[in-house]
């Protein structure tokens, strides 16, 4: 029965792409939404224990190589599944309205179904090979959805960039899987042997560290950590509901999920002293800091949210690196709901403002779109970790994990920065005065759009109490109610600092009073990469191509050709006169030589 979780979205995608097409787009959108609803119901029934896990299916079985497609059932997969199905369904509903007039609606819903299929695969994968398969497939659906409006060059480029960045991550991931399959003795999560994974001596630790880091490469790509984070902000070229589902709540979080599952399989005890973890934590921390800094200077509403997502993902990765995947997963869970809310809210705003995305051209939306605005503010409160919100407790868990390390202060700074840039967004775009005709004429959106917003807004404050749904793994136990201790005050302090600063700088402003080009230009990392790609890859490729043409084709092959031709030409010039007598003469000499050598030599 659980196979339906796969079959339904896949069938839906296939039917939409091959049978319905754009001619019956309305039916296609309904079919996609229906399949996601059924998946949600199935997912909930599974969590309630109505279905058991079906037997796995042998995908490849040759010699010693066995790759199965099978499902895994534990708190981690169940919690993740509910995020995917829940947000997936809400995004489908939202999209019904948002993509109403799109001229490729069918393709959109088909690809969305494909994504649902792939994401379900990652979540339920019982082994690394299966996870890798679906890992690539979400990459594909992300590529397709980012490139939905492929006629726009920016969208087409963003899609390509996303896929390639992910590919680079997957390069490491695949090697990591290969190493793990030998080191841990299996690719099946439940069969991995932590003791043999760690191995013996320095070499063992080195190899294990290398394997962990390489597997983490996959997470770097998918969860957009430094240095492969560049694709995520660009991915905002896709339709906004896609950003909410894929690039905020589920796919980008898959890296964290994967690391959590990997660590759970290896076992906490074996990982404690692995140097790799330190690196992971630092990468997460730096990503979160850098992304938060970048977010403070963005003007595109979606870009702000994208950098915010990056920053929060950095948080989660940091928690994983601190060997507290539990905290990371808890934050992933709460973050999924409120970040989806924020994205969908921004989608509603953008929709209402006729696809205007610049926050400095918005304003005064609270009056014109009260429901959307209020839900957006609720989402912001959850993200900025106001006490009682879901974000507060999950962020506190991460702070606790980092306690006593330099990372803690980074995390705290990031928390303050988060509050700063989110309230900058609120003050500029939602409150204040309308600065543009589009925002002046903005109207509240229809129920298909604000319905999901309301649901998510509620969840932003209550999701932490559904303890059965929260994905749990190794690490410190999570708790849904904030405890009043030092972290409570640190957290509150960070919020207060951020809020006050944002209020001072941005309340009722028409122009950005701060201008930090470094942050606005994302630390020039994109330019740096463009340079690297241009100077390194393209020039290297051109050089190699030249060498290939010149040395191999020109000198070796061409040389051999010219040698043969030259020799031939000499003979042709002197030997081939075209005169029969010459040939007779030569053959006569040949006969003489033949006789001489046969008789006398």
């Amino acid at each position: 029965m659980l196979w339906l979780l796969f079959i339904l979205p896949l069938t839906s995608a296939a039917v939409i792409h091959f049978l319905l097409k754009q001619e019956r787009a309305g039916l296609a959108s309904k079919l996609g939404t229906l399949s996601s609803l059924v998946c949600l119901i199935l997912g909930i029934s599974w969590i309630l224990g109505l279905f058991s896990i079906p037997a796995s299916w042998s995908w490849i079985s040759v010699g010693e190589f066995n790759a199965n497609i099978g499902l895994i059932e534990d708190s981690l997969s169940k919690g993740m599944m509910i995020i995917v199905c829940g947000i997936g369904f809400l995004v489908h509903v939202f999209s019904l309205a948002y993509m109403e007039d799109d001229d490729a609606k069918a393709r959109y819903f088909g690809n969305l179904s494909l994504f649902m299929f792939s994401m379900t695969g990652i979540v339920l994968a019982e082994n690394f090979i299966m996870m890798f398969i679906f890992w690539e497939l979400v990459g594909l659906s992300s590529y397709l959805l980012i490139g939905h409006w492929y006629k726009k060059d920016t969208a087409a480029d963003a899609a390509k960039k996303a896929f390639l960045s992910n590919r680079i991550g997957d390069f490491g991931f695949l090697i990591g899987i290969l190493m793990t399959s030998i080191l841990a003795g299996s690719v099946v999560f439940t069969d991995m042997d932590g003791a043999s994974f760690i191995g013996q001596g320095t070499l063992g630790t080195c190899l294990a560290s290398l394997a962990v880091l390489l597997v983490f490469c996959g997470a770097i790509g998918k969860s957009a950590q430094l240095p492969l984070h560049v694709w995520l902000p660009d991915a905002m070229e896709g339709p906004t509901p896609v950003s909410a589902l894929i690039h905020a709540a589920t796919m980008v979080a898959a890296g964290v999920y994967m690391m959590a599952r990997f660590f759970q399989s290896i076992g906490e005890t074996f990982l404690t002293n692995l140097p790799a973890l330190e690196i992971i934590a630092w990468i997460g921390a730096i990503t979160s800091l850098v992304a938060a800094l970048m977010a403070t200077q963005q003007n595109d509403i979606k870009k702000i949210l994208a950098y915010s997502t990056l920053s929060q993902l950095g948080y989660m990765v940091m928690a994983v690196g601190l060997l507290d995947p539990n905290a990371g997963m808890f934050h992933l869970y709460t973050h999924a709901w409120f970040k989806a809310l924020l994205f969908l809210g921004s989608g509603a705003i953008i929709f209402a403002c006729h696809h205007e995305q610049n926050i400095w051209k918005m304003g005064g939306l609270l009056k014109r779109m009260p429901i959307t605005s209020i839900t957006f503010i609720i989402g912001t409160l959850a993200l900025t970790a106001v006490p009682l919100s879901s974000g507060f407790v999950s962020k506190e868990g991460i702070l606790k994990a980092a306690a006593g390390k330099p990372l803690f202060w980074i995390a705290l700074t990031v928390a303050a920065l988060t509050t700063f840039y989110m309230f900058r967004l609120i003050f500029v775009a939602i409150l204040g005065k309308a600065k543009d005709d589009h925002s002046k004429n903005a109207k509240e959106v229809e129920i298909k759009m604000f319905g999901p917003l309301v649901i998510l807004a509620v969840l932003a404050f209550v999701s932490q109490y559904f303890t059965g749904l929260i994905p749990e793994t190794i690490g410190n136990p999570i708790h849904s109610f904030p405890k009043v201790d030092e972290f409570f005050f640190y957290s509150l302090g960070a919020f207060a600092v951020g809020f006050v600063l944002a209020f001072l700088f941005y309340y009722n402003r028409a122009k950005d009073p701060i201008s930090i080009p470094l942050f606005r230009n994302k630390f020039y990392i994109d330019e740096l990469y463009a340079g690297i790609v241009k100077w390194f890859q393209d020039i290297l490729a051109a050089l190699v191509h030249f060498l290939d043409e010149f040395i191999i084709n020109g000198l070796l092959v061409g040389g051999a050709t010219r040698l043969a031709q030259g020799t031939g030409n000499i003979f042709r010039k002197y030997g081939q006169s075209g005169n029969l007598q010459h040939y007779a003469l030569i053959s006569g000499v040949g006969i003489l030589l033949a006789i001489y050598f046969t008789v006398f030599a």
Binding site: Q581, L585, G588, V589, I591, L592, I595, Y596, V599, F600
Partner: protein, 239 residues
């Protein structure tokens, strides 16, 4: 064959050969060639190869050389007009044969064998060793034994070499299959000649070619002009 005769014919053969090479007029060359072949045929007969010798005269000196002369006449070949032979080619044509002879001499000096005599006794003895399938009253046996009924009354004085019969016997038993193939070969050659002499469409670059050819033919042979012209016209139409 008496040595004196041998040298006579050998010199005839070589002289004919030299004639072929040095005569400027192709008809003279052809005549020299006939002489050479006659000498050669005599040498063959001196080797008791009567049949092959005869064949050499009939086929080579007779048929083939007639063909050559016919073609020379047909193409109306005069002396090679004003063609000077380059010194190098003359030198090469002298040096290479000389080297050839020089190489041959040591080889031949190693082979200094006289022929076994094929007198009456030897032939009588050979009759004993003949294939059993050859019947007693066959001409081969009769000739070899020198008797009229084959095996009996062996007479060395009357024994002769039944050269043609032996060749015939070999040809139609052992060499039967090659003989058939040669027949096919001749057929193919005949067809080839016919095809080659047929005028291909459009290979006459010169429109007057047919006329010119017709004149040449009319001059060198005795075919009436009218027929040729008619032929030429019809082939013109075809083209």
């Amino acid at each position: 064959m008496p040595t004196i005769l041998f040298y006579l014919f050998a010199i005839l053969m070589i002289a004919g050969g030299i004639c072929v090479v040095v005569m400027k007029n192709p008809v003279s060359s052809a005549m020299g060639m006939i002489g050479s072949f006659i000498g050669l045929a005599a040498l063959l007969i001196g080797l008791n190869a009567y049949f092959v010798g005869t064949l050499q005269v009939l086929v080579y000196a007779g048929a083939i050389m007639v063909l050559f002369i016919f073609i020379i006449m047909l193409l109306d070949l005069k002396k090679e007009e004003g063609k000077e032979y380059g010194g190098s080619s003359v030198a090469a044509s002298i040096i290479i044969p000389i080297i050839f002879i020089l190489i041959m001499i040591p080889v031949l000096s190693a082979v200094n064998k006289d022929f076994t005599k094929l007198d009456g006794h030897a032939l009588n003895a050979a009759a004993e060793k003949l294939d059993k399938n050859i019947p007693a009253d066959s001409h081969i046996r009769k000739a070899l034994t020198g008797s009229s009924d084959g095996s009996k009354n062996v007479d060395p004085n009357k024994a002769t070499l039944p050269d043609v019969n032996l060749i015939g016997q070999k040809l139609f038993t052992e060499y039967n299959f090659p003989l058939q193939i040669v027949g096919v070969l001749l057929l193919v050659a005949t067809i080839g000649c016919v095809t080659l002499s047929k005028k291909l469409h459009g290979d006459a670059t010169d429109p007057d070619e047919d006329q010119r050819m017709a004149k040449t033919l009319a001059k060198s042979t005795d075919i009436p002009k009218v027929t040729i012209t008619a032929n030429a016209e019809s082939s013109d139409k075809k083209a």
